[in-house]
Amino acid sequence: MRKLQAVGRFAVVIVLTYLGLLAVTFFIGRVMPIDPVLAIVGDRASGELVARVREELGFNKPLWEQFYIYISKVLRGDFGTSVLSSHPVMDDIRRAFPATFELATLGILIGVALGVPLGVWAAVRRGGVVDQIVRVMGLVGYSVPIFWLGLMGLVLFYARLDWVAGPGRIDVVYEYTLTPVTGLLLLDAAMAGQWDAFGNVLSHLILPASLLGYFSLAYISRMTRSFMLHELSQEYIVAARAKGLSETRIIWRHALRNAMVPLVTVISLSYAGLLEGSVLTETVFAWPGLGLYITNSLQNADMNAVLGGTIVVGSIFIGLNLLSDLLYKTLDPRTRTR
């Protein structure tokens, strides 16, 4: 019974969160000093045409009524048509999302694979060389604008050294020979057995992914370090040492395991941040992902697209939050509802 209540409470929270998200985005969109009708009819249209389109789109109705109409459409799975692309917003997002997903996933994998061990190492050798390096990396990752690092990377690794491919997801040569199936080009190329295309995609992906990886690494390593320091000062570590357990076992099996509990939240939120679309990275690398899509839509007052994008981003946050909650409960039995 209690479990049912908990699920019910959770559902109510989700619905309210969505509603709040939609309301805020919707009303901000409508009170912006930008006329969405202009985006459709352009600068030159007659006053008559502007008025006609305004009526067709229902912009002459009271705000609350427009919101109601929008919500009821969304509930029917209709996010409307994007002004910019003339496609249904859902189709656009379906196309943009894999690009961001591929980039963000590789980014977070790099971030975790390097960030966690570095953080652990820094905590164990507190005040040592590694600790200093991790701290400087964290500082740089936090204070240097990511687009600047991106441009530096392009100039060095693409323009100067020729180690990686330039902006975009894939070279022109492969653009129309590789058929997108999943939209994840690495996967598509691998499934089709086109290994040269696979290499090309990877070559385009590696620089922006490393950049995002570095960005999340800076945060993850810092948090890992502080969680580990906390664990290492606990009594059970002293007890473990007294029992004569090996230092490696103490660090990796006992301390890290406990540090992982709060770390899961940190990682999943970093991942959500990357998935939300790293706007500047996508801009610098001409990456046709969700971040670029939402920014472009915003600049063009393409409100259906902005709202659709916001719902997706919101869902990612809610989803990953839920996931990290569940993981939390799995990793730390004390937080389970009894």
Partner: protein
């Protein structure tokens, strides 16, 4: 013609940083290469919202239309005062000047394989009038309406058709309007096969193709790619290249990087500093063409200070035209103080104004404002507009005029301008079709009330000039080209003196191209930048 939304200012910053880095670092020799049969163009085309020629009104989309759709006649891109036949074999005007008869070339075909007949041409023009989208006025200004268009524009045989206007307009005016995208010919059979609820194929054609041009549209992904392919059914000379790919890349510095590396063949949105840096690169050549776009500052006459004739004139003496020409618009524009860009009938090259603070101050004294006044200007945060506005602000201050700059995003600034709630505005205007009448919007304002139906540029600045308006009306029906030209010249002489528009410069479009690309030429309009003539060595 709509204009591209400006980039974020932080992007501008990014671009500046990148240019510095690139310049400082130097380039490795080009290693990458595009396929031999494919032209890859970096182009900011985030303004595209449709691929339907009855609705297209954007710069980038217009360029695509010029390459993929045929029309009855086209501009002669070597001399825009002339027309060349496209799918029309010949055309005549009746003695009363109201009936235009066309005969089509024989054996024409659409890319779909369907034959192209006079019925398709009539349908295309009717469709544009019936759909009544933004550019429809280019046709409806000749008296066509939803109710009469099927009688006024009709096929009289498989290859013959007539078009009947309500008045005897200057024939060049009518014909020039037919070169616009709205005059493009669509495949009636294909379009109607995709009709939904009587929409004349509108929803479908937004993202699809039904034309007969030298290239055909394979795919358009908003803000990502426009892929064109050779149309093997084309009646004329076949395009040398199999494919033309436009990639959406906004930053000038990124475009330059890709071009120098050989990852693209052409860069279309380069800033003056990147263009200058390319001048010494032997692998790259620069092509340019003056465009029908003019930049101006306008003064809203609802502001009592700006409504004083002396103040209007004073402000015209407070722009440093020479410095702007030498720096901010170097390679991308030429100073022009007239509302008709060079290339259009009647364009003037008289530029009487220069920076003269003393003269401006004397005029302000005459206006009863010896201590100057305060005023605002709305501006998009894009270059070179931003630089010009700041320079104007500094010079005005020397004469005692305190200008507050209100920066904004494209649509935001425009929203305010269209509601005429600004003081001053800096912006651009491009000719919608290649005829001087397209710019008559600078003087037309028949109804200056706030809820007027028509809201041309003169209305947006609450300026009423009945004499100039009369001249514009006379010019458009003047069938003697020499007399017509004279009227436009006289109009501009008066306009320079009295109008609340400070005309600044005419845009020059520039493309940086790798030296192995040949046969490509930028035209005077955005719809006459032909990619289908390009080839690669």
């Amino acid at each position: 013609m709509r204009f591209t939304t400006p980039v974020l200012s932080r992007r501008t910053l990014a671009a500046a940083v990148a240019s510095t880095l690139v310049l400082g670092y130097g380039m490795a020799p080009a290693l990458a290469a595009t396929p031999k049969d494919t032209l890859v163009v970096a182009f900011a085309f985030d303004d595209i919202i449709t691929m339907d020629p009855a609705e297209v009104f954007e710069i980038s989309a217009s360029e695509v239309m010029g390459n993929i759709y045929d029309r009855l006649v086209r501009l002669d891109i070597n001399d825009p005062s002339k027309l060349v036949n496209d799918i029309a074999k010949s055309w005549t005007v009746s003695a009363d000047g109201k009936t235009f008869s066309f005969e089509l070339k024989p054996g024409l075909k659409f890319a779909s394989g369907n034959p192209l007949t006079a019925d398709d041409v009539a349908f295309s023009l009717q469709r544009a009038v019936l759909l009544d989208k933004s550019p429809a006025f280019i046709l409806t200004q000749f008296g066509f309406s939803k109710t009469n268009v099927k009688d006024k524009i009709k096929a009289t045989g498989a290859l013959t058709m007539t078009l009947e206007t309500d008045k005897a307009y200057a024939p060049s005016f009518v014909m020039n309007c037919l070169t616009a995208d709205v005059g493009a010919v669509v495949d009636k059979k294909l379009v109607l096969a995709n009709e939904v609820a009587g929409d004349l194929g509108y929803a479908w054609l937004k993202t699809h193709y039904a034309g007969s041009g030298p290239l055909k549209l394979r795919e358009w992904r908003a803000n990502e790619v426009v892929a064109l392919e050779r149309n093997d059914s084309y009646y004329g000379k076949k395009a040398p290249l199999a494919r033309v790919l436009y990639r959406h890349i906004k930053e000038s510095s990124t475009q330059r990087l890709l071009l120098e590396k050989g990852d693209i063949d052409m860069a279309r949105n380069l800033a003056p500093q990147d263009l200058a840096a390319m001048a010494s690169n032997k692998d790259i050549k620069i092509e340019s063409a003056p465009k029908g776009t003019v930049y101006y500052i306008s003064l809203n006459q609802k502001n009592p200070n700006l409504a004083k004739p002396e103040v209007r004139e004073a402000l015209k003496w407070l722009v440093d035209y020479a410095a702007i020409g030498d720096t901010l618009i170097k390679n991308i524009g030429t100073v022009d103080q007239n509302f008709l860009p060079v290339g259009l009938l009647g364009a003037s090259t008289v530029n009487p104004y220069k920076l003269d603070v003393d003269k401006a101050r004397a005029l302000l004294v005459k206006a009863g404002l010896p201590n100057g006044f305060k005023v605002t200007i709305d501006m998009r945060t894009i270059q070179p507009v931003q630089g010009i506005t700041e320079s104007f602000q500094q010079n005005a201050k020397r004469a005692g005029i305190d200008i507050e700059i209100i920066p904004g995003d494209g649509k935001q600034v425009l929203t305010k301008y269209r509601a005429r709630t600004h003081d001053m505005y800096i912006g651009q205007w491009g000719a919608d079709y290649w005829d001087p009448h397209s710019n008559a919007t600078f003087v037309q304002n028949t109804d200056n009330s706030d809820d007027a139906k028509a809201k041309p540029l003169a209305w947006r600045n609450a300026w009423v000039a009945p004499e100039l308006e009369k001249m514009a009306d006379a010019a458009v029906v003047e069938r003697d080209t020499g007399k017509r030209k004279k009227i436009y010249e006289d109009m501009q002489a008066e306009f320079r003196k009295a109008s609340p528009f400070i005309m600044l410069y005419q845009q020059v479009e520039v493309a940086a191209v790798r030296s192995n690309v040949a046969g490509f030429k930028l035209g005077p309009t955005f719809g006459s930048d032909y990619m289908f003539t390009a080839s690669k060595r």
